[in-house]
C-alpha cells in the first residue's frame, strides 16, 4: 500500500472515473459511511440467510441478538460476560502484534507465541505440583509464559535484523512448531494415550467479583499503556520511523536492528502474557487448539484499527460480536459452522471495503469520450472500485469525500514519505 499519486491528465483526456486521495473527512461523515456499510452487509446477509437457511430477516437479526445478549436474563448474564471476555482476549493478542506491525514487521506468529506461552504456564503447574504457594506459582507461570512468548518472537526478529530473512514465513513456521511442540508435550504428559490433559488442579487465578473481571481489567490496562507507549514515548516514535523507512531511521541515528529486536520482544512478551491469562484465568489446560485461530484474527483487528490500540477495542468487540451472533445461527437454524463463518466474512468484507470510500474521492465525468482510459498511476486495487462508484451521481466532482490516511502519526508520515519507496525496496 503506497503510491497513491493524484492522477495527472489533460482536461480533454479525462477518464470516465478517476480517483483521488482524500485528506479530510469530518468524523461524522466517515462514521456514517461505516454504519451504512454495516447496514448494507446485514441486509445482504439477511437475504443470504433467507435464501440459504430459510431464516426471515427478523429472525436473522433476533438470532444475532440472542447470540450476544441471551434469550433471557439468566443467559444474558453469561453471554455478555463471554462477549466482554472474548473481546478482551482478542484485543490482547491484537495489542501484542501491533508494535511489530507499526514497524512494518509482519509478525503473523501470534498464534504460536500465545500457544507457547500457554504451554509454558501449564508446564510450570504440571511439573511443580504442590511445591509453591499460589502467589509464587502465578509468578513462575507468568514469567515462564512471557519468556516462552519472547523466545518464539525474538528468533524470527534476530534473523530479520541480521540476515533480513522473511519474517512472515518465519513467524508462520513458528506457529506450526508451537502446535507440534504442544502435541508432543501432551503425548508425554498423558500416559493413557488420550492426549487430553484435562483441567489442572492448581494455578487458577482468583475471581474478583467475576472470574473474567481480572482478565478484562488487565487487558484494558495494557491497552492504555500500549497507547501511551506507541504515541507518546521515544521508543514508540522510533518504531514509527523504522516502519516508515529504515533508511530514514538510520539517517537520524536509530539503531534499526535494536528497534526490531526490542519491539518483537515486546510483542512476544504480550503474546506470552495472553497465553498465561488464557491458562490461569480460563482453560487451566492446554490443547493444540487453545488459541483457536485468534492469533490470525488479531491481525485483522490490528489492521482494521489502523494500529491504534484504542480503536482496537471497538474492532475486537465488533468481530467477537459478529462471531457470537453468527454462531447462534448454527444453533437456531440447525446448520453447520460454515454459514456463520460466511456471514462474518461478508460483514467484515464490507467494513474493510468501505474504507476505500473514506480514503479516496471518486470522480465521475458526465460525458465519456470514446478514448477515455484510466491513468496508469492509480494505485493497485483502485480498479476494483469502478462498480462501487456507479451510484455516485454525475456532478463531476467529489462524490465521496474522505479523511486522511487515518494514521495519527501524520508528522512521521510526511517527513519520510518521500524516502519510503526507496527505503522499503529490497
Amino acid at each position: 500500500m503506497s503510491s497513491y499519486n493524484v492522477i495527472k491528465h489533460e482536461v480533454s483526456k479525462e477518464p470516465l472515473i478517476h480517483i483521488t486521495k482524500n485528506s479530510a473527512m469530518p468524523f461524522w461523515k466517515s462514521f456514517l459511511i461505516r454504519a451504512a456499510a454495516v447496514a448494507i452487509a446485514f441486509l445482504l446477509c439477511s437475504i443470504l440467510s433467507y435464501l440459504m437457511i430459510g431464516a426471515n430477516p427478523l429472525e436473522f437479526l433476533k438470532t444475532f441478538w440472542d447470540g450476544n445478549f441471551g434469550i433471557n436474563a439468566a443467559a444474558s448474564k453469561i453471554v455478555i460476560w463471554k462477549l466482554a471476555k472474548d473481546t478482551a482476549v482478542l484485543l490482547c493478542i491484537a495489542l501484542a502484534i501491533t508494535p511489530a506491525f507499526r514497524m512494518k514487521f509482519w509478525n503473523i506468529g501470534a498464534e504460536g507465541q500465545v500457544l507457547i506461552g500457554a504451554l509454558a504456564a501449564v508446564a510450570v503447574v504440571y511439573y511443580s505440583g504442590d511445591k509453591f504457594p499460589d502467589w509464587l506459582l502465578f509468578l513462575f507461570m507468568l514469567l515462564a509464559a512471557v519468556a516462552a512468548g519472547i523466545v518464539w518472537a525474538v528468533i524470527p526478529a534476530i534473523f530479520k535484523a541480521i540476515w533480513n530473512s522473511n519474517e512472515t514465513l518465519f513467524t508462520l513456521m513458528m506457529n506450526y512448531a508451537a502446535t507440534y511442540f504442544v502435541a508432543f508435550c501432551l503425548v508425554k504428559w498423558t500416559p493413557d494415550g488420550s492426549s487430553t490433559l484435562g483441567e489442572l488442579k492448581r494455578g487458577h487465578l482468583p475471581s474478583i467479583g467475576h472470574p473474567y473481571l481480572l482478565l478484562i481489567l488487565t487487558v484494558l490496562l495494557i491497552t492504555g499503556l500500549l497507547f501511551v507507549y506507541l504515541y507518546y514515548s521515544k521508543q514508540g516514535y522510533e518504531i514509527s520511523v523504522v516502519g516508515e523507512s529504515q533508511r530514514t531511521a538510520k539517517y537520524i541515528g536509530i539503531n534499526v536492528k535494536k528497534v526490531i529486536i526490542r519491539t518483537m520482544t515486546l510483542s512476544g512478551a504480550l503474546c506470552g502474557l495472553t497465553g498465561f491469562m488464557i491458562v490461569a484465568a480460563l482453560d487451566h489446560s492446554v490443547t493444540t487448539t487453545t488459541v483457536g485461530g485468534r492469533g490470525f484474527t488479531a491481525i485483522i483487528v490490528s489492521w482494521m484499527a489502523k494500529f491504534n490500540p484504542l480503536v482496537m477495542i471497538g474492532v475486537a468487540f465488533l468481530i467477537v460480536f459478529l462471531n457470537q451472533g453468527a454462531n447462534r445461527l448454527a444453533t437456531n437454524f440447525r446448520v453447520g459452522k460454515a454459514f456463520p463463518d460466511l456471514v462474518v466474512g461478508v460483514i467484515i468484507f464490507f467494513v474493510i471495503g468501505c474504507e476505500f470510500f473514506i480514503r479516496y474521492k471518486v470522480h465521475i465525468r458526465r460525458k465519456a469520450p470514446a478514448a477515455a482510459s484510466v491513468s496508469g498511476n492509480v494505485a493497485e486495487g483502485i480498479s476494483e472500485s469502478g462498480e462501487g462508484s456507479g451510484g455516485g451521481g454525475g456532478d463531476g466532482s467529489g462524490v465521496v469525500e474522505a479523511s486522511g490516511e487515518a494514521r495519527s502519526d501524520e508528522a512521521v508520515n510526511e517527513t519520510v514519505n518521500d524516502t519510503e519507496k526507496e527505503g522499503n525496496a529490497k
Binding site: 487448539t289 444453533t331 453447520g336 459452522k337
Partner: protein
C-alpha cells in the same frame, strides 16, 4: 430525517423484543429442554453421528426444535463450561457433551448446577467423581467392529482364493494409542482372524482425531507396505478416499462412505446415540435417575452396522454377520475371549486394567473373568489396552 429513521429503528427493535418475549412463553408441560455441546459440526463424521442421534431421538420423543438446543464448534476448554452454563440458563434440564476433552469442564458445570443432569459421551470420570448429576456413556462398539472385521475377513478370504499370491496382511489407521482406539482395532482384528486365522495387521497412528492429510498418508503408507485391506478409526475421509483411489477394500467407521467410495466400501460400524438420547430424556421427563455409566450394546441398537455393499463385499457377508451377531447377543460368543488371542505368546488369565482415571495411570481393576476380557463393564468407556500378538504398531509416538 435522521430522527425519523432513528424512531423507525427503535420501533422495529421494540417489536422484535416483544416477539422474543412472547416466543419464550411455553406451557409448563412442554418445558423440557436438552442442550447438546459438540466439538465440531456436521463436517466431522464423529460429530455428525451425534447430530443424527439427537435428531432421531427428537423425532421419536416428539420434541420441538426449540426444546433441543445444539451448540456446535465448542472447544475443549473454558468455552465448554460457558456453553453448559448458557444452556442451563436457557432452561435445559440435561446438558450433553460429545468430546473426551469436554469432561473436566462438564464436571465443573455439574458441580455448580446441581439440579441439571450432565451427560458426557466417551468420558471416564463419572464412576469416581461421585456426583449425582454427572454421567458417562459409551457403547460396546468393539462388538460392531468385530462384526465389521468378520465382513473384512470374508473379503480377505475371497481375495486369497482368487489370487493365491496374496499375503493376508491388513492395515489400520488409528488416531492415538489410546484405549478407545486399541480396543477398536483389536476387536476388528479378532473379527478378521475369526475367518482368516493367519492374518496379521499393521497399525499406523496419526496423532489426531481429525487430520485428513495425515490419515491419507497413513493409509497410503500401509498400502505401500503390503496391506491389502484397510480400516480406520479417525474422523476424516482421508483413509477411505485413498482406498478408493488405490482400489483397496475399506471397512469404515462412524457412517457410510458408500457414496464417495462405491467400489471399495464394504461395511461400516457406528455407535447410534439415539437410544441414549431417548433414554436420558425419558428418565428426566419421568423424574428417574440416569445411570452413572451407561453402555449401549448391539441389543439396545446402540451399535449398528450399515448395509453391506455387495459390490465390494464377499458373497454371503450379511448372513454371516447376522449369525455372529446373534451369538454375541446370546452371550455364547465374546469378542475378547482369551482363547482367541495371546500376548507375548501367552494366554491371559488375569489382567488389571486402568479403569479409574487418576494421576497414577496404573491398572486398578481385574477385568479377566469367565474366560474373557470384560470390556466396557466397569465403566462405559473402553479400557482394553493390551498389545496382542499378530498386530504390529508401526509408530507408537502417539
Amino acid at each position: 430525517m435522521f430522527k425519523k429513521i432513528l424512531s423507525l429503528c427503535l420501533a422495529i427493535l421494540m417489536v422484535a423484543g416483544l416477539c422474543v418475549g412472547l416466543s419464550s412463553c411455553n406451557s409448563s408441560k412442554d418445558s423440557f429442554k436438552i442442550g447438546v455441546i459438540l466439538l465440531h459440526d456436521e463436517s466431522s463424521t464423529y460429530d455428525k453421528n451425534f447430530i443424527n442421534g439427537i435428531n432421531d431421538a427428537q423425532k421419536a420423543l416428539g420434541l420441538k426444535d426449540s426444546q433441543v438446543i445444539i451448540k456446535k464448534g465448542i472447544p475443549e476448554g473454558n468455552e465448554c463450561y460457558e456453553a453448559a452454563a448458557e444452556l442451563v440458563a436457557e432452561g435445559c434440564k440435561i446438558v450433553f457433551a460429545d468430546s473426551f476433552g469436554h469432561e473436566d469442564y462438564m464436571i465443573k458445570a455439574a458441580k455448580e448446577f446441581k439440579d441439571v443432569q450432565f451427560c458426557h459421551a466417551t468420558g471416564t470420570k463419572a464412576h469416581t467423581e461421585g456426583l449425582d448429576n454427572y454421567h458417562n456413556a459409551f457403547a460396546s462398539i468393539y462388538e460392531g467392529r468385530y462384526l465389521a472385521g468378520i465382513a473384512a475377513g470374508l473379503k480377505l478370504k475371497a481375495m486369497m482364493e482368487a489370487d493365491s499370491t496374496i499375503v493376508p496382511k491388513i492395515g489400520y489407521v488409528g488416531a492415538f494409542t489410546y484405549a478407545e482406539v486399541i480396543s477398536g482395532y483389536t476387536s476388528f482384528y479378532l473379527g478378521v482372524k475369526e475367518i482368516v486365522p493367519n492374518v496379521t495387521m499393521d497399525v499406523q497412528f496419526t496423532g489426531s482425531w481429525y487430520d485428513e492429510n495425515e490419515e491419507r498418508n497413513a493409509a497410503l503408507a500401509l498400502i505401500n507396505g503390503g496391506c491389502v485391506l484397510i480400516s480406520q478409526h479417525a474422523d476424516s475421509m482421508g483413509a477411505p478416499s485413498v482406498c478408493e483411489d488405490k482400489n483397496v477394500p475399506n471397512v469404515s467407521y462412524n457412517g457410510s462412505t458408500l457414496s464417495s467410495c462405491p467400489n471399495t466400501f464394504i461395511v461400516s460400524s457406528r455407535i447410534d446415540w439415539a437410544p441414549y438420547f431417548e433414554y436420558i430424556c425419558n428418565q428426566v421427563i419421568n423424574g428417574k435417575k440416569i445411570d452413572t455409566d451407561w453402555t449401549g450394546t448391539i441389543e439396545t441398537a446402540s451399535v449398528r452396522l450399515t448395509d453391506v455393499n455387495d459390490k465390494a463385499a464377499a458373497a454371503n457377508t450379511q448372513a454371516t454377520i447376522d449369525q455372529y451377531k446373534a451369538e454375541l447377543i446370546a452371550g455364547t460368543r465374546h469378542v475378547f475371549d482369551t482363547n482367541n488371542f495371546t500376548v507375548d505368546g501367552q494366554k491371559l488369565t488375569s489382567y488389571k486394567a486402568d479403569v479409574d482415571t487418576d494421576a497414577n495411570y496404573e491398572g486398578d481393576t481385574e477385568v479377566i473373568k469367565d474366560g474373557y476380557f470384560h470390556e466396557s463393564e466397569y465403566r462405559s468407556a473402553p479400557y482394553f489396552d493390551l498389545a496382542i500378538d499378530g498386530i504390529t504398531r508401526i509408530n507408537v509416538a502417539f
